[in-house]
Symmetry: C2
Subunit: 634 residues, 2 copies
């Protein structure tokens, strides 16, 4: 992997993220690739500082051994975020640039929603960043755009199919689906054989079908009220949360209520994160269920004839994007965030490629979303289940700020000044808040990994406060708890964390233990997860009961569970800080992501489309047209 790491000159106070990012000249990404022993046929360049690593690398390295696998989660965060990406990057800069380890950072592509909305970009921060940060935060290599395009092509196919079925006879529909060629002969396209097979029809020529078979084949008879497939957009557009479509005169009154989600919540994003090969992705995309026929049969993308086209739209997106940290260590960016309303982990293929490339003794540090209750839980029970990989160590990122909030500190609101309590020493608030950290530690340890707590230190934190967290973490069973200053100092500030992570990896011996087995009922699995949140029970809405019954009848009950739940509390109530327990978890609705491979319960009210504030981040963003540089991105 070579030693061409970049030496950082750090300045105090820490400048703005974009200024730090712009102050460093990145290496040409082919140099990063070369350090990884990748040759030009292993990747496609996207400009000078990004490359897509081709999936074929995985086949070539099939026989070689993996490195250590580290997952980074967090405690329950404030709305400001506690520096999970920053810590992920800082830890890798420490391991690669200071501890002489082969290392790979695996993180998720940011959504443009937050970038232009409230939170800003997601490249890390301070002296622990992925660069160039503007390329990282904007289009990257187009994966989310590909997901948006594929998601919405499928949506258009659903409504148009219902429309055309409503105006045509079975025979007319069939004749249009299987038109005669120049010689007047009709035939099935390849994708139609998937539907024929599903229907148990083994005939191969259109003229052989009986009128009954023609009807079954050609008429999907989708129940408009059953459609769970929504359109998506990678923008915070709250006015699209609930809309009525089909109001044009040509659509003949076929008005339907639906809505848009943010693109990262698309099932196709989850497919991208969980797939393991092109062939696997083709199958997953084809079997995505969009709703039911009026008779209650699930209707898939392949039934609509569009699974192949979706795969074609996603064929480049399956290759993860190679970038670099400020200190020149390699980064793999793949799949998307939002572990509250989605799966929210980086991709299996990126982690797998990275584990082979670092090899034995090397480290792959992969990021899970938000707190351990949702991000790490989904990482273990969904992602590791599908990948077969086992992490040795889980890092939990904590801040004094968030712990004070959990200890009873005043509300923290994005865009408003922090209360005095967060800027001066208050050990007892911190100590009180450690119940949140403790529960994250114990539920993460239960998977059979060693837990290292990383306290992301702010300049206002006092020695006594930091010591309190260390003590509480060790008391709760953490393998170690380390104070980090990577935001201010880059990798140098996370060397102790790097050493602790290395020891944690080397000393683990248990196998991975999942929270629930797959072969129990949907409700039993939901209840196992609810218990890990501290819930005393689960309450299902009528709608949720109906959906669970239906998915069970349809044969989907053996899938893992992906909860859509607020990231701001263990419970469904964002204001319940600390470690609430005994509450009843309300399941409002249950959806199914059959292609991605999970059941998707909605806990309480969860918006799947954020909104813009009065003064969005975009007010500060512009291009310096003389230099071509982006300004104001945070």
């Amino acid at each position: 992997m070579g030693k061409t790491v970049r030496k950082l000159e750090v300045v105090s106070p820490v400048p703005a993220d974009i200024d730090i990012a712009n102050s460093v000249e990145p290496l040409h990404i082919s140099e990063i690739a070369q350090q990884l022993n990748l040759s030009p046929q292993h990747y496609d360049l996207y400009g000078k500082y990004k490359a897509k690593v081709l999936l074929s690398v995985l086949d070539e390295l099939q026989g070689s051994e993996d490195g250590y696998y580290v997952v980074v989660g967090g405690i329950t965060p404030t709305p400001l975020g506690e520096g999970k990406s920053t810590t992920t990057v800082g830890l890798c800069q420490a391991l690669g640039a200071f501890l002489d380890k082969k290392v790979f950072t695996c993180i998720r592509q940011p959504s443009q929603g937050p970038t232009f909305g409230i939170k800003g970009g997601a490249a890390g921060g301070g002296y622990s960043q992925v660069i160039p940060m503007d390329e990282f935060n904007l289009h990257l290599t187009g994966d989310i755009h590909a997901i948006t395009a594929a998601n919405n092509l499928l949506a258009a196919a659903i409504d148009t199919r219902i429309f055309h079925e409503s105006t045509q006879t079975d025979k007319g529909l069939f004749n249009r689906l299987c038109p005669p060629n120049k010689e007047g002969k009709r035939s099935f396209s390849d994708i139609m054989f998937r539907r024929l097979k599903k229907l148990g029809i083994s005939k191969t020529r259109p003229e052989e079908l009986t009128p009954q078979e023609i009807k079954r084949f050609a008429r999907l008879d989708i129940d408009p009220n059953s459609i769970t497939w929504r359109r998506v957009m990678d923008i915070n557009d709250r006015f699209l949360r609930k809309i009525s479509i089909g109001q044009g005169p040509e659509e003949k009154g076929m008005v339907r209520e639906t809505g848009f989600d943010i693109s990262v919540a698309s099932e196709i994003m989850a497919v991208l994160a969980l797939t393991t090969s092109l062939a696997d992705m083709r199958e997953r995309l084809g079997k995505m269920v969009v709703g039911n026929s009026k008779a209650g049969d699930p209707i898939t993308a392949d039934d609509l004839g569009v699974g192949g086209a979706l795969t074609v739209l996603m064929k480049d997106a399956i290759n993860p994007t190679l970038m670099q940290t400020l200190e020149g260590t390699p980064v793999m960016v793949h799949a998307g965030p939002f572990a509250n309303i989605a799966h929210g982990n980086s991709s299996i293929v990126a982690d797998k490629i990275a584990l082979k490339l670092v090899g034995p003794g090397g480290f792959v540090v992969t990021e899970a979303g938000f707190g351990a209750d949702i991000g790490t839980e989904k990482f273990m029970n969904i992602k590791c289940r599908y990948s077969g990989l086992k992490p040795q160590c889980a890092v939990i990122v904590a801040t004094i700020r968030a712990l004070k909030m959990h200890g009873g500190g005043p509300e923290v609101v994005a865009g408003k000044p922090l209360d005095h309590a967060y800027l001066t020493e208050n050990v007892s608030l911190v100590e009180a808040g450690c119940v949140n950290l403790a529960r994250h530690i114990s539920s993460t340890k239960a998977y059979g990994v060693n837990v290292v707590v990383a306290v992301n230190k702010f300049s206002t934190d006092s020695e006594a406060e930091l010591n309190a967290v260390r003590a509480a973490a060790l008391a709760a069973g953490a393998f170690d708890a380390v104070i980090c200053t990577h935001h201010a100092h880059g990798g140098k500030g996370a060397v102790d964390l790097g050493i602790a992570v290395q020891k944690a990896c080397e000393s683990v011996s248990q196998p991975l233990k999942f929270l629930y087995p797959l072969d129990t009922s949907i409700k039993e699995k939901i209840e196992a997860i609810a218990k890990s949140y501290g819930a005393g029970g689960v309450e299902y809405s009528e709608q949720a009961e109906k959906q669970i019954e239906m998915y069970t009848k349809q044969g989907f009950s053996n899938l893992p569970i992906c909860m859509a739940k607020t990231q701001y509390s263990f419970s469904h109530d964002a204001s319940a800080k600390g470690a609430p327990s005994g509450f009843i978890l309300p399941i409002r609705d249950v959806r199914a992501s059959i292609g991605a491979g999970f059941i998707y319960p909605l806990v309480g009210t969860m918006s799947t489309m954020p909104g813009l504030p009065t003064r969005p981040c975009f007010y500060d963003i512009d291009l310096d047209t003389a230099t071509g540089r982006v300004i104001g991105l945070s």
Copy 2:
């Protein structure tokens, strides 16, 4: 420019487009770049076969001379298309690979709507194609995705702003727009000074503003009924033509009717086509008008604070994409199609870069959309007006099939077998149809260019039919009329066309004559264009009258005109074939694209969002997951 052209082995009958495209191993795009004397700092690679040529090339070549400039238009087409892209590519293959000329093909990025909908891809066809055709037809280098993202960020900004204004006092709004920093000081962001300037407020500190100024600055007071900005999607999704948004409970009843257009119809696509530099693009994006305040003042993207962010989203899209033809000649792909509902020409910057790179004696062949009535008209009166460039030659592509239709042949419907009349000799139908060709020739000649007619020959065309077209073309004033077989033979089949184009370029002497001057009224300009269609007069709806009056009052009457009109007739009535005249052209509505720089009248009913048929192209499209190759793309 070198001679590394690729020798084609042609097969008869002509195989499927994707099979021809896949049978050729493209050159690495860096080899194409090298032949153009471009070094790696002049471009960014996007994989192995695409590169974005950086705009800085234009600055470097500022002093050097341009080559010849050729625009390709067509006669009024059938719904099947008459091979305009194919002819554009074939002509360049002839000039570059057989006539030893430096040559550049400038074409438009296809929309994914037709690719997955009815028409299929747009890479040309047969042995005259841009390759790799799957990369060309899919995401390319992300320009249309960037346009979609920028367009919809602006849309979200509009509705959210109206929402936030409705719930806040002037003072509250102002305080949120100019929040205090850590030291408690408020300030204006850079973009806010644009609005302050527009309002004639020269104060620089928020605390200096009077309550009246605060109100004027902070409250845009957008009239929801005046909003002309629609959302876009690069998909044929007819159910989004007319929708109601804001139906979610959090949006508090602020429901509004709006709709989606296909992305290529976005004003931002027109800005991309017509801009000349990053700084120019920044200004155009900022001054795009989205609607009016209740007092009737135009509200711009910069008023909403988002012009800078839009520029940042478009900063890579401004660089045209370099690709290659089947015979290894260079291609520039930039901006979008749909000259019926949009401007529909390839970009000014692509043409400018190409003209410098081929240099004196070289040829840049650029494609305009559809028939000369809309594509070439917009090319001359809008694009050339903004670029200052003058074409020497216009090619008009004709087919026997389309001429027969204009002569009274039966209707041609996509997806249905062609009538017998189109497959057997019928000279009199052809002769009768030549009135259409003749009018395209005379209106194109009026710009002061030489017109060469290219008859795109099909295997069913007879010698007598072809001779009839040649004779009619010359009689109508064409410089030459040439039979071409580039679909079947590649560049070799267009050598005669290449020679004719060269002669036409060398012998032109007139200056460019526009159809109308800018400093006349909007109505006078519309009427000049209507006259060129053969119209006897123009009829304005009440809505159109109102808009014209408003735009005139707002000071926008000196812009060129971009008509949205059916491509299937000179008139507004798609069924009026041949050369209709004396009809009254109905102007249903008038919009304004102030950033792009034109007034946009809608002629009759024009859908700005296509639909999917019962059996869309996507039924045939899939990925061979073993090889990673796309199949079924046409």
